[in-house]
């Protein structure tokens, strides 16, 4: 048995059941007497209705209950925001069911519970709802403002007054979203005797959602248990508190039987959070030598029909992360987050950063073209060099202060590792197929954490088995393995003997969950704290019994012995230690994406010849898992650049309502990529030095590919996605 400590890459603990088909995802989970719920959704993007006639549906075979807003406490209480709260936006919160007016196609209007999903779908066709269609607003510039913020730092007017060159441009990012391959699902069961609720299918933030559910029901939290099963991807969207997270438990209480709801793909694409849709009007002031003087951005964030749990997270992150790795004497950012008749929005992997990295890195290339300065050089010339660096912006209430970094060093290493000069030579050669070649580079700063605190408990049995209880959860990213490695390293017992438990609010007293690249950083630091404490206590106690100094003792699964005198030993006791890691500060990993592309102007296809990601994450606990995170993140970024788009017709009907039209990249579309993971700038804010590695693969794909395509075609790209139609238009411009 090996330690498999920090820096090693043991096989993932979570893979054994998954690879053998023994995982339990929510659709695999059954309870005796379980019945099935169907969320009846609005077919209109905006309509008024007065009456839902359910008499025929209630008579249909197998139908048990029909729930409309009239049946909900207070006709449905609004689902609160949990982050980036904005008091003014609270009047736009979503309620579990529409009450008289629907505001997007797919909005829940009723819950039907039947013996099977088939029968529920049959019965739903018998519902009669007197919709009167209303005017539909889709254009973000015409939307009602739900949130508005201005951030200003330095003298922006003076900066622009002394500029030799001002670059002004409008950029658009299309609406796309996380679309995890496992759709959402819940099974809820009410115990009438104990007056308790259990909900399976929790993800991302079980403890937070338990609190919200308790609040909406007017209950004590202790009466509710949320349980996480295997989760097939989250990426920000899955696990937030949605209308169904109230409706399914509520339905289970009404019918007195366990109720299952498995979201199908068609509803998932309309119901789960969308993201990314922004329009930026941005200006960059520079000196003739390429020195940045000021950056001004006014952007509109189309948040859809309601303000959901994430409140102003995406525009808030956009405004605070737009400055990126560069030193700006002056910065002014302003957003309007607006309501339209589209699916409400939330986060998607690298929220706000995917968008602004595209905007900023594209803008810098335009400036470099205008001034005739090398694209690498203009970036290097403007890097931040002093750390910590206060950007003067906020992440929620937390100041955005870059904790550590050496941007020039990473740039040097990346250019060398990826043979940038070789890529430039490739770029200069003619393609044998007549394709146009382009090279693009984009720099980014990511963010990790904080969500303030995290819980861990490490339990040792007298047989040497170790169980780690964590307040973070697994969305498939490998956190069980990672936390076991941290525990193994700091406790000093083998990785194989460590089991990680998570996601059950009955077993774990508190937790903030997994999002924002926080699990390794916050969860890891908490596990480390508990493991260090447990080891100290074990050794101190043994030291007393053995009359030796703790430093002279050796801890193994067989017991604790005096070094060099194995006969002087004591068996392992059973012992449990808790710890909480508290940190108000964020980690700021950073990196570079390099893209070499070939554009077929005949078809509009963009072929990725080579793609490379350099990423400094402070410390890699499990390098293979980190590489997997970067590869997967890149695939999603590439989808967002080339393929994925939630388009709507003029009536607000979604045009991408299945995976036939919502185009996810498959293994055929995603090339292997080169990676360079460095550990030159550990975070000073946590004892592991980790910064989180979940989102850097996605962060700058828009910037890098768009820059490469612009380089290939010799025209400025200002809009995503780079669809074949758009490419052929750009090529003939």
């Amino acid at each position: 048995m090996e330690l498999h400590g920090i820096g090693a890459s043991p096989l993932r603990k979570e893979d054994w059941p998954l690879l053998r088909g023994e995982g339990t995802f929510i659709a695999d989970f059954k309870r005796p007497g379980m019945v099935h719920a169907l969320v009846v959704r609005s077919p209109f993007a905006h309509a008024r209705f007065r009456h839902i006639d359910g008499s025929a549906a209630l008579q249909a075979r197998g139908v048990i209950d029909l729930i409309t807003a009239a049946e909900l406490p207070d006709r449905g209480r609004p689902i609160p925001t949990r982050m980036f709260k904005d008091e003014a936006a609270n009047r736009f919160l979503q309620k579990p069911l529409a009450d008289g007016e629907v505001r997007y196609s797919g909005e829940p209007v009723a819950l039907l519970i039947a013996e099977s999903r088939y029968l529920a779908e049959d019965a739903a066709e018998l519902l009669s709802i007197d919709y009167e269609p209303l005017e539909v607003v889709l254009d973000p510039d015409a939307g009602t403002v739900a949130g508005h913020l201005v951030v200003e730092r330095g003298n922006i007017e003076a900066a622009f007054a002394q500029a030799d060159e001002v670059i002004k441009e409008e950029f658009r990012i299309q609406r796309h979203a996380a679309t995890p391959l496992e759709t959402r699902g819940l099974v809820a069961e009410f115990d009438a005797g104990a007056q308790t609720l259990t909900v399976w299918g929790a993800a991302k933030i079980p403890h937070v959602n338990r609190r919200i559910l308790a609040q909406l029901l007017g209950w004590e939290e202790s009466r509710i248990r949320l349980v996480e099963l295997h989760v097939g991807g989250g990426f920000g969207a899955r696990g937030e508190f949605y209308p169904e997270d109230f409706l399914i438990p509520f339905g289970a209480m009404r019918v007195g039987r366990p109720v299952a709801w498995i979201e199908d793909r068609e509803e998932s694409l309309r119901a789960m959070n969308h993201s990314r849709e922004q329009v930026h009007r941005v200006e960059l002031a520079l000196k003739a030598d390429g020195t940045f003087l000021g950056l001004k951005d006014t952007f509109v964030n189309n948040t859809g029909a309601y303000v959901r749990t994430h409140g102003m997270t995406v525009p808030g992150l956009s405004i605070s992360m737009l400055p990126g790795p560069y030193a700006w004497p002056a910065y002014r950012g302003e957003y309007h987050s607006v309501l339209t008749n589209k699916t409400p929005c939330g986060t998607y992997r690298s929220p706000g950063r995917f968008e602004v990295n595209f905007v900023r890195e594209r803008l810098i290339d335009i400036a470099a073209n205008r001034l005739g300065i090398d694209k690498v050089e203009i970036r290097r010339r403007n890097f931040i060099h002093e750390f910590p660096h206060d950007t003067g912006t906020l992440f929620d209430e937390h100041p955005v202060v870059y904790d550590s970094g050496d941007y020039s060093l990473l740039l040097d290493k990346a250019l060398e590792a990826f043979d940038y000069s070789g890529l430039k030579r490739w770029r200069a050669q003619r393609s044998p197929d007549g394709f146009k070649r382009g090279l693009g580079i984009a720099f980014f700063v990511e963010k990790a954490g904080p969500a303030e605190r995290e819980y861990a408990r490490v339990e040792l049995t007298d047989s040497g088995d170790v169980t780690v209880y964590t307040g973070t959860v697994s969305l498939g990213q490998g956190m069980e393995t990672t936390l076991a490695q941290v525990c193994s390293t700091h406790l000093g017992l083998p990785f194989e003997r460590v089991t990680v438990k998570h996601g059950d609010t009955a077993v774990i007293p508190e937790g903030m969950g997994s999002f924002g690249s926080r699990a390794a950083m916050m969860g890891g630091a908490a596990v480390m704290g508990a493991a260090v404490k447990l080891r100290r206590r074990l050794l101190e106690r043994a030291a007393e019994e053995l009359e030796a100094a703790p430093d002279d003792l050796v801890l193994t699964v067989d017991g604790i012995a005096v070094r060099g005198a194995p006969s002087r030993s004591v068996p392992l006791p059973s012992m449990s230690v808790e710890d909480r890691f508290v940190c108000e500060l964020l980690g700021f990993p950073y990196g570079i994406h390099v893209a070499a592309v070939e554009v077929d102007t005949g078809t509009g296809a963009v072929g990725v010849h080579r793609y490379a990601v350099a990423y400094d994450i402070g410390r890699a606990i499990n390098p293979v898992i980190v590489r997997g995170q970067i590869a997967g993140g890149f695939a999603q970024g590439l989808g967002g650049v080339l393929l994925e788009e939630f388009a709507f017709d003029a009536n607000g009907q979604p045009l991408a309502a299945s995976f036939m039209d919502y185009l996810l990249p498959t293994s055929e579309e995603v090339p292997d990529i080169d990676m360079l993971i460095t550990e030159d700038a550990p975070s000073p804010h946590n004892p592991l030095g980790v910064k989180g590695a979940g989102e850097g693969g996605t962060a700058a794909v828009g910037g890098a590919i768009a820059n490469a395509v612009a380089d290939a075609l010799g025209v400025e790209v200002t809009q995503l996605p780079l669809s074949p139609k758009r490419i052929t238009e750009l090529a003939s411009a």
């Binding site: 005949g602 299945s658 052929t728």
Partner: protein
């Protein structure tokens, strides 16, 4: 995404199947590989009252060659065509087209008869069969019929099959071994329905002139399109770069492909011209090598 209620029959013979079709007519839908019908039913966009499942009819699953003609039973899976060395050698265009159909899982289940009967103008097989001048054998209680491609394909998702008729086999005439063929298409992702594509079959005489040519276009209109004007211009002449460019421009004259989320009409017309040009170039290259 669960289908509306339906009745289900699984006949074991063609005779039993056409008996059911004769009895229930319009109410029925024939279930072959189910790769298009089942998703449509799950979306409740198709709501047949009765499915006649022909998967149990063994005689429909055979690939035969008779008098040099290829006979594909309606239930022959795409994968059978793809893996047949005989087809790859003697009907290479069919092989080249079939590998573009969806993904391997879809080709394992999807059938040649299902693809024809579904009549999706973006489907590869109908386009290739149009280029190959295939014939379609149809049977009902009223008797057999043999249809040409331009008789069976009517418009989007519409064939001339009557409700009581079953497509039983597809017949492909022999190919001149010196023919050069190419099937090219462009989709946003591998395996998606193409935004545009072209199937070309060209035979060159000893003096290098074109003795025979077929150009069929994919996703170019409501049904497969034969670019007759392009064929006319190419026949009898030298097929050089200029001739290919002219023919490709002629091929897309008057086309009205449908605009959708993934490509406007203008984009698709331009793409079809590029596809025709690339398919002709490739096919001529092969034909020149074969003629030499």
């Amino acid at each position: 995404m669960k289908p509306a209620p339906f009745d289900y029959d699984d006949p074991r013979s063609v005779d039993e199947a056409i008996g059911l079709l004769a009895r229930y007519g319009d109410e029925c839908k024939v279930l072959a590989g189910g790769q298009s019908l089942v998703p449509l039913m799950n979306f409740r966009l198709a709501r047949p009252g009765r499915l006649v499942d022909i998967n149990g009819i063994e005689s429909l699953g055979q690939v035969k060659v008779e008098n040099g003609r290829l006979l594909l039973g309606a239930m022959v899976r795409h994968a059978q065509v793809e893996r047949s060395n005989d087809i790859a050698a003697r009907w290479p265009l069919l092989h080249d087209a079939i590998v573009w159909v969806g993904h391997s899982q879809i080709r394992n289940r999807g059938t040649v008869g299902g693809s024809v009967a579904h009549a999706d103008p973006a489907a590869e097989l109908p386009c290739a069969l149009a280029a190959l001048d295939a014939k379609f054998h149809v049977l009902s209680r009223r008797g057999p019929r043999v249809l040409r491609w331009d008789q069976i394909f009517v418009s989007e998702f519409t064939t001339s099959l009557a409700p009581d008729e079953l497509l039983t086999a597809i017949e492909v005439p022999p190919q001149d071994p010196s023919t050069g063929v190419a099937f090219v298409e462009f989709a946003r992702r591998h395996g998606d329905f193409a935004l545009g594509g072209a199937a070309v079959s060209i035979t060159l005489a000893r003096n290098g002139t074109c003795s025979d040519v077929a150009v069929a276009l994919l996703s170019a209109g409501p049904r497969p399109v034969r670019a007759e004007e392009a064929e006319r211009r190419l026949k009898g002449g030298q097929v050089d770069e200029a001739a290919i460019k002219q023919a490709s421009a002629a091929a897309v004259q008057g086309l009205h492909p449908t605009s959708d989320l993934h490509g406007s009409r203008e984009y698709r017309v331009k793409l079809l011209q590029v596809m025709t040009e690339r398919a002709l170039t490739k096919a001529v290259h092969l034909a020149t090598r074969r003629a030499a």
